[in-house]
């Protein structure tokens, strides 16, 4: 709760700072503020609590995920300073929107009541619609914002419809009450229908196939900074929320439902990976790679009662690798009109450190050991095998192999092609974000217990 208030306060401060002409201080202050909020959040880890008649529930799950979101936001905010340096007057707005987005994200993992859940989703989504369309003279950005807004509000509508049906079936918005009633006999048929509608809405938000069609266009059209936010922070938030919705409202999933998850998981992995093979635009490629990772993360739903730690680990590994790679991508494509892989030619020679970080983060996404991505995949696989779904694991392995094809396309471009342009000085913040994110990723890979044990 304190986290949520502090984050909103920081967002308001960013807006007001504009009035007092504090632009230069804005990014450092926002980063410091977020670090302080991170400390505040972590301090709540061992004191579970509820607020406002169960509207907000602070437990280990919510604190762990909120902390992850705050860490990701710190990185994103740190990069913003340089990214928006051509639009100094808008900086405070963009920062404020990002921080409000974080508030929505925190609400989404700490809700105890479906109305709070919906508020969280809307705060997050509206911020994102604005960010997607934020380059208003660029037609692609407009297209991305429009597409995301139309489809996103459709999804929100479906979620709301689902919530209504659940209310109709149980008479409660409070998820603890709903969970109690859900296992009882005589629950009306619209209860599962309501759950299904909510899941569909959430699958749209995490861009799992077959609800993924918006993702490539929106990722490509949005400013790269927004793409970074969407593919790291927002994906992780949506996944954690989906997990919380399901584990919070149902005691166990029916076999039919699990089969649906199996199908969607395999479909997302396969569609994402196969489409990614054909892409030349890095943002589009990462959009499809994100779709396939959504498929992987959905495996966690199959062992619903025990997978919280694994999910936290997977999302953290994926998002940190994503942040590291986007720090490099933002730097490389910042003065370019497209994001073709050609822009990365010869990066290994001109900027060896950035190339090494990008390589490492791609290797992590591909699941190569010592990077956290390896343990993430391994733990999902081993948990899913224990849940009895060997088929999904085999599909996951085959997909991991396919994914090498496109991740390595970028690595090959960096190390075997000649660079088109001269070496330039890189602002320190890119190095800082890229290196810190990848070091955190490697640290998680060397000591997985640090993260896994938080929620087990």
């Amino acid at each position: 709760m304190n986290t949520l208030i502090a984050i909103s306060g920081l967002g308001v401060f960013c807006l007001i700072a504009e009035i007092f002409n504090l632009r230069k201080l804005l990014v450092p202050v926002a980063v410091l503020g977020l670090v302080a909020i991170l400390g505040l959040t972590v301090s709540e880890f061992h004191t579970p609590n509820t607020f406002y008649n169960n509207m907000i529930v602070v437990d280990k799950f919510s604190v762990a995920f909120s902390s992850l979101f705050i860490v990701l936001t710190i990185f994103l905010v740190a990069l913003s300073g340089d990214f928006y340096k051509d639009h100094p007057s808008k900086l405070s707005d963009f920062l404020a929107i990002k921080i409000f987005l974080l508030a929505g994200a925190v609400a989404m993992v700490s809700f105890g009541n479906l109305s709070m859940f919906f508020l969280g989703i809307e705060v997050l989504s509206i911020s994102l619609y604005v960010l997607a369309a934020s380059r208003r003279l660029d037609i692609k950005s407009n297209e991305a914002g429009m597409k995301y807004f139309l489809l996103g509000s459709f999804a929100s509508g479906i979620i709301l419809f689902g919530i209504c049906l659940i209310y109709g079936a149980t008479g409660y918005f409070d998820i603890a009450e709903i969970k109690d009633l859900s296992s009882g006999a005589g629950i009306p048929v619209w209860f599962p229908i309501g759950i299904t509608l909510m899941i569909i809405g959430m699958l749209f938000k995490i861009a799992a196939a077959p609800f993924h069609f918006w993702a490539p266009d929106v990722y490509e059209g949005s400013p790269t900074m927004t793409t970074a936010t969407m593919s790291t922070l927002v994906k992780v938030v949506a996944m954690a929320t989906l997990y919380k919705v399901l584990s919070g409202m149902t005691t166990s999933l029916t076999l039919t439902f699990e089969m649906v998850i199996v199908v969607i998981s395999i479909l997302s992995m396969t569609v994402g990976n196969i489409m990614a093979l054909r892409q030349n635009n890095v943002k589009r490629m990462l959009a499809f790679s994100g779709i396939s990772h959504a498929g992987f993360m959905l495996m966690a739903i199959l062992s619903l009662s025990t997978a919280a730690g694994t999910l936290l680990y997977y999302t953290a590994a994926y998002a940190l690798a994503g942040i590291a790679s986007f720090a490099v991508i933002i730097y490389v494509t910042r003065n370019k009109d497209n994001e073709d892989t050609l822009n990365f030619n010869g990066l290994g020679k001109t900027h060896p450190l950035l190339a090494a970080v990008l390589t490492a983060s791609l290797l992590s996404m591909a699941g190569i050991p010592i990077f956290a991505g390896f343990f993430a995949k391994f733990m999902l696989f081993s948990q899913t095998i224990q849940a009895g779904y060997l088929v999904v694991v085999i599909a996951g392995v085959v997909n991991s192999i396919i994914s090498i094809g496109y991740y390595f396309k970028l690595i090959l471009a960096m190390y075997t092609k000649e660079a088109a342009e001269e070496k330039q000085a890189v602002p320190f913040v890119y190095y800082f974000v890229a290196v810190t994110a990848i070091l955190l990723n490697i640290l998680m890979g060397l000591y997985p217990s640090l993260v896994i044990n938080l929620l087990n």
């Binding site: 010592i370 391994f378 696989f381 694991v393 085999i394 000591y447 217990s449 044990n453």
Partner: protein, 478 residues
């Protein structure tokens, strides 16, 4: 003192090499690799005196993964193969200039570190991590410092990476499954598992896919020749000298004892595939025009025979296989180095462009000749010991295995000697050919001395390895 010191030394060496800068990199790398060799000899000595040099520590609580390194005779033999070949490989590369040599030598040492870890690891997941870790450096070594057309090279290396990673991911599933049964990845716990016939069959196949690609066994060999040809000679040596042995060693250490019944059931197919590799490799080698490719296919034939020895599941077969692994490791590194020496002077790998080198270089010729003879398993070389023991064990299983496997010696003699004839004898090539330099001579002499010494007196290695193999065989036959 335990074996983790070797690993730490190699890892530190890799970092130190990277920090040393381009000028000093090769020397620092050489120094550390020699240090690792000295250390492993010292540890071997303490092992022989009965000291315990294994190490077990905890690493991850959930899933339960331990930092377990088991250093018995077999593992130490393979570690010594790695630490002995690494300085030789680095020494052999001193004549070549490399761009960014600090990265290059750091990767070489890192690969040596990962391979040593693979040989020592006694915990399934730890082993898997080292196994994968060895793949990354060789990928970059072959990709960045390789030769030939860049597009071709990229394709070859990517294919290699996808093949090997694909194979090993199925091994990862096998480990995940075994973990769900045993609740631990420790080698001894996995040995104790009692699996049903179907389970064993699938586990065996998953392991087989990983190892058959790495070794390589027909029909999973298609990545090999291209990568050997395109990689820089150092990379080719690392691959053929040590990395292939990771697959063979893993068959003995992991695959056979964990799924012994499946191994017995499939024995004819496995030996059949391995021997098919022997014959196929030899015949293809006959037709090669490129020296490195010829050696690649000869390597395919030799490792086929080693794999056949492993799958006989007999004391002779396994110890012969280990002996031949070590012998082949040394001889193939020597042969690739000879090819590199010729390339340094003639800038060609096409056999037809060579010839008449003998009359210009008496020293090089005699050393090359000994290596060729060792490669065809002439009595008196260590290769003879290995190959003969394996063939003997095959003849015990079925005389036809030995007859077919024996073609490796006949065909091997044919293509190796024909190659030698075309490269070294015949018309004098117009170009000058300087005799071997001191570092080149040291490398070749060290390899030859090793092969001849243990060819005449193989007892130390046999004695070192025999107890471990006996232990593994008791587990298999239980």
């Amino acid at each position: 003192m335990d074996v983790t010191t070797i690993l730490l030394l190699l890892l530190m060496g890799s970092i130190a090499t990277f920090l040393a800068g381009d000028k000093l990199a090769s020397k620092v790398a050489l120094l550390f690799s020699l240090g690792a060799l000295g250390l492993s000899l010292y540890l071997l000595n303490s092992l022989n005196q009965g000291a315990n040099i294994s190490f077990t520590g905890s690493w991850i609580d959930y899933p339960k993964v331990a930092l377990a390194f088991k250093a018995d005779g077999l593992a130490m033999a393979m570690v010594l193969l790695t630490t002995a070949l690494t300085p030789l490989i680095i020494l052999s590369s001193l004549g070549n200039p490399f761009n960014n040599s600090k990265n290059f030598y750091a990767l070489v040492l890192f690969m040596s570190f990962a391979m040593t870890g693979t040989f020592l690891a006694a915990d399934g997941l730890l082993y898997y991590i080292f196994w994968e870790l060895a793949l990354i450096p060789i990928y970059f070594i072959a990709l960045i410092w390789g030769n030939g057309d860049a597009e071709d090279r990229k394709k070859a290396v990517l294919k290699f990476f996808i093949y090997t990673l694909g194979g090993s991911l199925f091994m990862l599933i096998a480990f995940a499954y075994l973990y769900s049964k045993a609740g631990s990845f420790l080698l001894e716990d996995l040995y104790k598992l009692d699996l049903s016939a179907t389970e064993e069959c699938w586990i065996f196949l998953a392991f087989f896919l990983a190892y058959a690609i790495k070794i390589p066994i027909i029909p999973f060999h298609t990545w090999q020749a291209k990568v050997y040809q395109k990689a820089p000679t150092v990379g080719t040596m690392l691959l053929s000298g040590i990395m292939l042995k990771m697959g063979l060693y893993s068959v003995i250490r992991w695959q056979l004892p964990i799924a012994p019944h499946a191994a017995k059931e499939y024995m004819p197919i496995l030996i059949g595939l391995s021997i098919a590799g022997v014959i196929y490799g030899s015949i293809v080698a006959l037709r090669q025009k490129d020296l490195k490719k010829l050696l690649a296919y000869s390597s395919l034939a030799h490792v086929g025979l080693i794999a056949a020895g492993c799958y006989t599941l007999t004391q002779d077969g396994l110890s012969g296989a280990v002996a031949q692994m070590i012998a082949h490791g040394f001889v193939i590194v020597g042969l690739f180095f000879a090819a590199e020496i010729i390339y340094r002077r003639y800038e060609t790998r096409t056999i037809a462009d060579m010839g008449g080198i003998r009359s210009l270089t008496p020293k090089f010729t005699s050393m090359f000749m000994i290596l060729v003879l060792a490669s065809v398993a002439l009595p008196g070389t260590y290769n003879f010991v290995g190959e003969f023991t394996v063939l003997y064990s095959l003849s015990q299983a079925n005389i036809w295995y030995a007859v077919l496997g024996g073609t490796t010696i006949i065909l091997g003699a044919y293509y190796m000697l024909k190659m030698f004839q075309n490269v070294m004898l015949g018309e004098t090539n117009a170009k000058a050919f300087a005799d071997v330099t001191t570092t080149e001579a040291i490398t070749l002499v060290a390899i030859i001395a090793f092969l001849l010494f243990f060819g005449l007196y193989p007892k130390p290695i046999t004695d070192l390895v025999a107890p471990s193999i006996k232990e593994i065989l008791t587990i298999i036959n239980n």
